[in-house]
C-alpha cells in the first residue's frame, strides 16, 4: 500500500509498504531517516521515539497505515522543530496562560526551511537539548540518544522547570545500555536551566 504523511515538515510518500510494517521501518528503510533507532521492536527501549502529531510515541508500535495524513517529527527534524517553537514563543510572548508547548495547529503548520536538510540535520544549529547532551557528556555509544532527545525535548516543551522526578518519569521509557543515566539527567537539567535563563533574558 501507499502511505502519505508529513515528516519533519515535508510531505512524504512511501510506496510498496507492507500492511504489517511499522512507522519505524518506513522511516528508516523507505525514507532514509536512520536517526530513529531500531532495537527492541516491542516498545521497551524508546530508541525509536518520534513525535506523532506532537505526541511522543514508539514508532516501532505504530502501524505504517496509521500515519496516513499525519505529522511525524524525528530526531533529524528536532533542531528545526525546536528552533521554530522558540521563535513562536518569542513572537507570541511568554507563556502567560501556562499552556506551554506547541499546539497541534502550530505543529501542523510547521515546515522545514529551504536550504536546511532535515534528512541529515546538516546546516541546522543544534537544538538546546542536543547541545546540552554534548556539553554534559551524555552521549556514550549514542544508540539511545535520538530517542532520549525527542522525549526530553517534548518534556521541556510541556514542563520547562522539571523536578528530578519529572525528568526520571519522562525518560522512564528510554533505556541506555551504557547506563549513562546520570549524565543524561545532567544534560536535561542543563537544558532546562539554559532555557530558563533565556526566558528571563527575553
Amino acid at each position: 500500500m501507499r502511505v502519505n504523511f508529513t515528516v519533519n515538515g515535508r510531505p512524504q510518500e512511501a510506496d510498496d509498504v507492507w500492511e504489517g510494517e511499522s512507522l519505524l521501518y518506513v522511516l528508516r528503510e523507505r525514507l532514509g531517516l536512520p536517526g530513529s533507532k531500531n532495537a527492541c521492536e516491542q516498545g521497551e527501549c524508546g530508541s525509536c521515539t518520534v513525535r506523532l502529531d506532537g505526541v511522543p510515541v514508539c514508532s516501532c508500535l505504530v502501524a505504517a497505515g496509521q500515519v496516513e495524513g499525519r505529522e511525524v517529527v524525528t530526531v533529524e527534524g528536532l533542531a528545526e522543530y525546536a528552533k521554530d517553537r522558540e521563535q513562536a514563543r518569542r513572537e507570541g510572548g511568554a507563556c502567560a496562560s501556562g499552556a506551554c508547548g506547541t499546539s497541534l495547529d502550530a505543529a501542523k503548520k510547521w515546515e522545514a526551511k529551504p536550504g536546511q536538510d532535515s534528512q541529515t540535520g546538516e546546516g541546522v544549529e543544534l537544538s538546546p537539548i542536543q547541545q546540552a547532551f554534548i556539553d554534559a557528556g551524555a552521549v556514550q555509544c549514542g544508540f539511545c540518544t535520538p530517542g532520549l532527545l525527542v522525549a526530553a525535548d517534548e518534556m521541556l516543551e510541556r514542563n520547562p522547570s522539571p523536578t528530578d522526578a519529572d525528568i526520571r518519569e519522562a525518560l522512564s521509557g528510554n533505556l541506555c545500555r551504557c547506563t549513562g543515566y546520570e549524565k543524561i539527567l545532567d544534560a536535561v537539567r542543563l537544558a532546562a536551566a539554559r532555557q530558563e535563563r533565556q526566558e528571563e533574558a527575553v
Binding site: 500500500m1 507492507w18 500492511e19 504489517g20 511499522s22 521492536e41 516491542q42 516498545g43 521497551e44 524508546g46 521515539t49 505526541v55 511522543p56 510515541v57 514508539c58 516501532c60 508500535l61 505504530v62 502501524a63 497505515g65 496509521q66 496516513e68 522525549a151 518519569e169 519522562a170 522512564s172 521509557g173 528510554n174 533505556l175
Partner: protein, 296 residues
C-alpha cells in the same frame, strides 16, 4: 495482509462483520509487538485511529463513559477525581510513550491477566459496551474475562465504550514489579470503598488465569464493617479484620510459577497489598487527609 481504515464507527462495524478475523488495532502496543516478532500474521488489520468517538469520554451522573481508545495519559490527567483507581493503574502502564498510545479498550481486547487496568475496573465496577452490526450490548466487567487472554466478545463485535462507576469513596491500586516503569505486573491489586452502598470491591491482576475479584474477602469485610458500625463510627479497622481480609484476598488468588515470580510469592504479595490498601483507603475515608495520589 490487508489494512482496513474505516473513517467512522459504522464503517468499522461493517468491516468487522465482513471480516470477523480482522484484528482491531488502536494504540498498537500489543498488536504491533506480535506482528514485529512474527507471532501473528492477521489477514486483516482494522485500524481504529480515525474513529473520533473512541477517543472521547464523558462524565455522567453515575458513570464515566470512557471511549475504548482514550489514552492512559488522558485518564491520568483528566479523570483522576472520578476514576482514582484507574488513574493510578494508568500511571503504572509501561512508559509515557506507551501511555500516549494505549487505552483501556486494548487491555480489554487482549484480556491478559496482567493488564494493568483490570483490577481497577473490577474494583470500581464497570460495564463494557460492545457493538456489532447486529446491535450493542453491555457486558458486566465480572463476566468479561472468560479465560487466559479470552474475553466475552463475539467475532463480529468491537469494544466501544467502558462505563465505569464514578468513585463514591477512596480507591487504591498497586502493582508489584522490579522497577517503576516498563514492568509487566508480577501481581497487582485494586481496592475501592463504596460508602454509598457500604460495600467494598476488589480486583486482582496477574495472579489467576483471568483478572478476578476476591469475592469472599469482600463479603467478609462488608459484614465485618457493618457489624462493627465502622461506616458510621469511622473507627480504625481492627488488625484482626484487616488480617482476615488480606488472607482471604491471598486465598482468592490462583497464581502460577513463571519467570516473573512464584505462585507462593504472588499469593503473599496479594495479601500484603490488600492489607495496605485497606489501611490507606480507610484512613482516607476517616478523613485523615490521605491523598489519592502517589501510592502506586
Amino acid at each position: 495482509m490487508d489494512f482496513l481504515r474505516p473513517a467512522s464507527w459504522e464503517e468499522a462495524l461493517a468491516a468487522k462483520a465482513e471480516h470477523p478475523t480482522a484484528v482491531p488495532i488502536a494504540g498498537g502496543t500489543d498488536v504491533m509487538v506480535e506482528i514485529n516478532f512474527d507471532h501473528r500474521r492477521p489477514e486483516y488489520l482494522l485500524d481504529l485511529n480515525r474513529i473520533e468517538l473512541l477517543r472521547e469520554w464523558e462524565v455522567g451522573e453515575e458513570n464515566v463513559r470512557l471511549g475504548a481508545s482514550v489514552p492512559y495519559t488522558r485518564i491520568m490527567e483528566s479523570l483522576r477525581a472520578e476514576l482514582p483507581g484507574l488513574a493510578l493503574a494508568s500511571h503504572t502502564v509501561a512508559s509515557p510513550q506507551i501511555r500516549n498510545r494505549g487505552g483501556v479498550g486494548g487491555n480489554l481486547g487482549t484480556a491478559s491477566p496482567a493488564g494493568d487496568a483490570h483490577p481497577a475496573l473490577l474494583a470500581a465496577g464497570a460495564e463494557v459496551e460492545v457493538e456489532s452490526v447486529r446491535g450493542s450490548r453491555f457486558i458486566p466487567i465480572d463476566e468479561f474475562y472468560t479465560g487466559v487472554k479470552r474475553n466475552a466478545l463475539q467475532p463480529d463485535e468491537l469494544i466501544k465504550t467502558v462505563h465505569i462507576k464514578k468513585a463514591d469513596g477512596p480507591q487504591q491500586y498497586s502493582k508489584v514489579g522490579t522497577r517503576n516503569a516498563m514492568v509487566i505486573a508480577v501481581c497487582a491489586f485494586g481496592l475501592a470503598l463504596h460508602p454509598e452502598t457500604r460495600t467494598v470491591r476488589t480486583g486482582i491482576g496477574s495472579a489467576a488465569p483471568t483478572p478476578i475479584r476476591a469475592k469472599e474477602a469482600e463479603a467478609f469485610l462488608n459484614a465485618a464493617l457493618e457489624e462493627g458500625g465502622f461506616w458510621d463510627n469511622g473507627k480504625i479497622i481492627t488488625p484482626s479484620i484487616a488480617k482476615q481480609f488480606a488472607d482471604l484476598c491471598s486465598g482468592a488468588a490462583n497464581p502460577i510459577d513463571d519467570v516473573r515470580g512464584t505462585a507462593k510469592y504472588r499469593r503473599h504479595a496479594v495479601g500484603i497489598m490488600a492489607r495496605r490498601q485497606l489501611g490507606w483507603t480507610w484512613e482516607q475515608y476517616r478523613g485523615a487527609g490521605r491523598t489519592l495520589e502517589g501510592a502506586a
